[in-house]
Symmetry: C2
Subunit: 527 residues, 2 copies
């Protein structure tokens, strides 16, 4: 497929604009063709208007038709074949096996949401039937279910060019909910985005849906994203990226005449606590696991463990030695793009300059700047020093982690209490550790969306019980997840219909429950 | 019970402050004793710190213990007896029968939340069990449930001194969720608030809970409220009141270093559409119903119908004549306080000054200013003029409504489309009307949280299927309700526990489901 480089507004190529940009291959610095046209304010406006018009139709087609659409998108993504993986590899430097897996996850997500809405109970239907003779007042017939918010905006992430991008989790969950979607593509992988958008349009045509259900806007700066988030027709925003960008979007959304919800996943240190029993019994295994976890995907994971706490002492020293050895053999890796690589190195230098923070170990290999590479590195400090330097709580995106030793359980807890909101918090320990460090676990539960025991936080399962989200600044809305089927709840609001005849009710709220969904009827859960 | 006039910080009287204020009896303008001490920033800070400390205990006591606490609050409120009603009557001018009903609703809410959490399924528990042999990666054991956000702030409303105030819906739902609560009392009914707080403390003692679970701060200006919403320990805010105040609180919360959710219910015009068949067949009944609805509680209801649309013509004229007659016999009523009464009259004058808006009818009685009275009044205009004057979409709180005639269905729909977000939207029609005006119903569903057919929006049932909320500016978060058991969802966020042994899991997430709650286990809903 020949890439055209245009934004796609309801299936049509956006007009030529004055500015263009190119993607680059981070593995060799080569400029990639074609040039992509910067989206304009007019493009954003047209896309939102089409999304609004299409919403009036799309919200009415029903869950079953929407499920077919999601399945069709997954099929069309697979039908793109190797071309998609090749372009994604060129634009991101991510290896083929990882991209193949990510494509599987992307299609798996689409199918998971299709299954969720086909089953149908997600609408949280509630019915309280009329009690005309109740005293002192009769009760009217009341029926409530979740309905889609309207057209929503999704911003593609750099680190998952498929699973958190054009047809990623936010798009899949929003389309499942019945929202129409305008995606602002991440400028580091515009070709991958264009290919994915083409797959979505093929699914739209296959399912005979209005093209305005989906649009794709390209752009390098904040301009196109801000135009979308400020657009009066936009009803919510999904975003994965930096704290700075996420906060700017949140602020723009909050400053609107009609504020809209922003689901921004922004950054997390994913603290890991190594408890004494675990260090004693499994230090070799933990050292290997930690190395794998913080270098996975060249450390460009939202759930990369960037902080590791433990009580100091001989067991820690022995663990640190093993971890240092592991680290020596860790490979350098090509980062997603030059900007991320520069930020990584700046972050490392910032840490290196802090008093009392020293390098614990690093890879024996040398990073090749021409290949946009990063070299895995770990630092070490103590809790006292950690608490002195608030900068150590800034995320360094890439293969970096910081080990922090405590002199006492109280210090460990103080460190945990000092943490801002996180996507994850992890404990490694024996069952006895877990009993003795109960209050530490309780602190983590207040800090994080997911608390992990005896595993590493990277590797986020897509399933109903996943929570990928957490208190600020991990996200702007801790009540929400960006991974797993519960993500559909981002894009909906409840509507109560009072006194409507059966002929005017949606199937989910009919007396005879034709969809056989779980509902709360007169206070009791029932199918 | 002798009122002391202090804010109550974790059960203790707040220190003397330099400023005081008094409540007034709106029915005769008399100043009511005692003077109440203005809450200070220090009071707010102390209350939040106690709320944080108490949260660490309260969040762990379990749903069953929390249910007992809620029931105990309801009992203690009833035990206040006539004294509560008498003070509320003095401070608000609301009649005893209304206050008795409101007390019933307040206690009913507390008991409804107690029943909800006793049953337990509200935590939306989800379990995906480990698949250690899955390829290419094993699946870990993942278990997710809703947990309380932390200490929250509730601002009492003026128009429901019991049901939306100190122990009202926000407090009841937040306590049910496991949050601790700091209430900023509405300054128009501080004595009622102090009495209710005393009931809550008796329940706290009866249930042996930490006193910091609840605090009450008095204050007349925005100062105490802003100190609370800006406090770093506050994790969410519930509010019912004006758009101006609600937006100021929302903006303050969004500007925090850590933004917090704000559930502000702010104002609604609650548009009513009278469709042709209904006007033809039931104009007498609708005229009487409309009069009752817009004058109920002296028009001081969030769901008061403030806009009534219909096609112009002989049927409308005949209806208007009947409505005018109804209106003549409508009684004047004492409003909640002088400020509200002044705003009402200013609002009426603003409407009266607009070209093309004329008085349709009013009460034959004259409002007595010494009794803080308002006189029911209805205006009429046409859609063309309505669309010209955006001011007509500003809420006039009190017994005022505006009838708007359309020349065509298209004009009716244009008027509906022009509306901002609403708590409710109402249609009166025959089944045939409903079929012919389907797109009007669809517009209302996008504008409102509750769509009512053939009834009036006032009278909000407390039940699982109620939705009392709606798109901005009706509320700041359309995904939430302030009435009904679903309100508990405001105060919680999901946490996923990964790989934890059974011994460290809460009962809701144990394999054998000791609480017998509905859960999603490996994708299927089951008890």
């Amino acid at each position: 497929m020949q890439l055209h480089g245009h934004s796609l507004i309801a299936g049509k190529l956006a007009p030529i604009s004055s500015k263009t940009f190119n993607a680059f291959n981070p593995a060799d610095g080569a400029k990639l063709e074609p040039a992509f046209l910067e989206g304009t304010h007019a493009d954003a406006d047209h896309a939102m208007r089409h999304a609004e018009d299409a919403f009036e139709i799309y919200r009415r087609i029903g869950d079953v038709a929407r499920a077919e659409f999601l399945d069709a998108i997954a099929e069309e993504i697979m039908a793109l074949g190797e071309e998609l993986l090749q372009r994604a590899n060129l634009e991101t430097g991510l290896p083929f096996d990882r991209l193949t897996m990510e494509r599987g996850r992307t299609c798996g997500q689409l199918k998971a949401f299709a299954a969720l809405i086909r089953e149908g109970s997600w609408v949280d239907a509630r019915i309280d039937t009329a009690l005309p003779d109740r005293q002192p007042f009769p009760r009217p017939d009341l029926r409530r279910m979740l309905v889609p918010l309207g057209p929503v905006v999704v911003l593609g992430a750099s680190n998952f060019p498929l699973a958190f991008s054009v047809a990623g989790g936010d798009t899949a969950s929003a389309l499942a909910a019945g929202c129409t979607v305008v995606v602002k593509a991440h400028p580091a992988h515009p070709g991958t985005s264009e290919l994915t958008a083409a797959a979505i349009y093929r699914a739209i045509e296959k399912c005979k849906l209005p093209h305005g259900v989906f649009s794709l806007i390209h752009g390098t700066g904040a301009d196109a994203a801000l135009a979308l988030v400020r657009h009066p027709l936009a009803k919510a925003l999904g975003f994965t990226g930096s704290l700075r960008a996420g906060r700017a979007l949140f602020d723009a959304a909050a400053a609107r005449q009609e504020p809209i919800p922003v689901f921004a996943e922004m950054g997390s240190l994913n603290p890991v606590f190594l408890l004494p029993g675990a260090l004693r019994e499994r230090s070799e295994q933990i050292a290997a696991g930690l190395k794998n976890s913080f270098t996975m995907g060249v450390g460009q994971m939202c759930t990369k463990p960037g902080l590791v706490f433990a009580l100091g002492g001989p067991d820690f020293d022995s663990f640190a030695q093993k971890f240092r050895t592991q680290l020596q053999s860790a490979a350098c890796g090509t980062m997603l793009h030059r900007g991320i690589c520069e930020n990584f190195h700046a972050g490392i230098e910032r840490v290196r300059s802090l008093k009392g923070v020293v390098v614990l170990g690093e890879s024996d290999a040398d990073a090749d700047a021409a290949k946009t590479q990063a070299e895995p590195v770990a630092f070490v400090t103590d809790v006292e020093n950690f608490l002195l330097h608030r900068e150590l709580q800034e995320e360094v995106f890439g293969p970096y982690t910081l080990l922090v030793t405590a002199r006492s359980t109280a210090e460990l807890e103080a460190a945990a209490r000092s943490l801002a909101g996180q996507l994850t918090g992890t404990l490694h320990g024996t069952p006895e550790d877990l009993a003795s460090f109960r209050s530490l676990a309780e602190i983590l539960e207040r800090k994080a969306g997911r608390v992990v025991f005896n595993a590493f936080p990277t590797g986020v399962e897509v399933c109903p019980s996943m929570q990928h989200g957490g208190p600020y600044p991990a996200t702007t809305d801790s009540r929400s997840t960006s991974v797993g089927t519960a993500a559909i709840q981002r894009w909906v609001r409840p509507v109560c219909l009072q006194g409507f005849p059966q002929s005017a009710l949606p199937p989910e709220l009919l007396d005879d429950n034709p969809r056989k969904i779980m509902r709360i009827v007169n206070g009791a859960l029932t199918r």
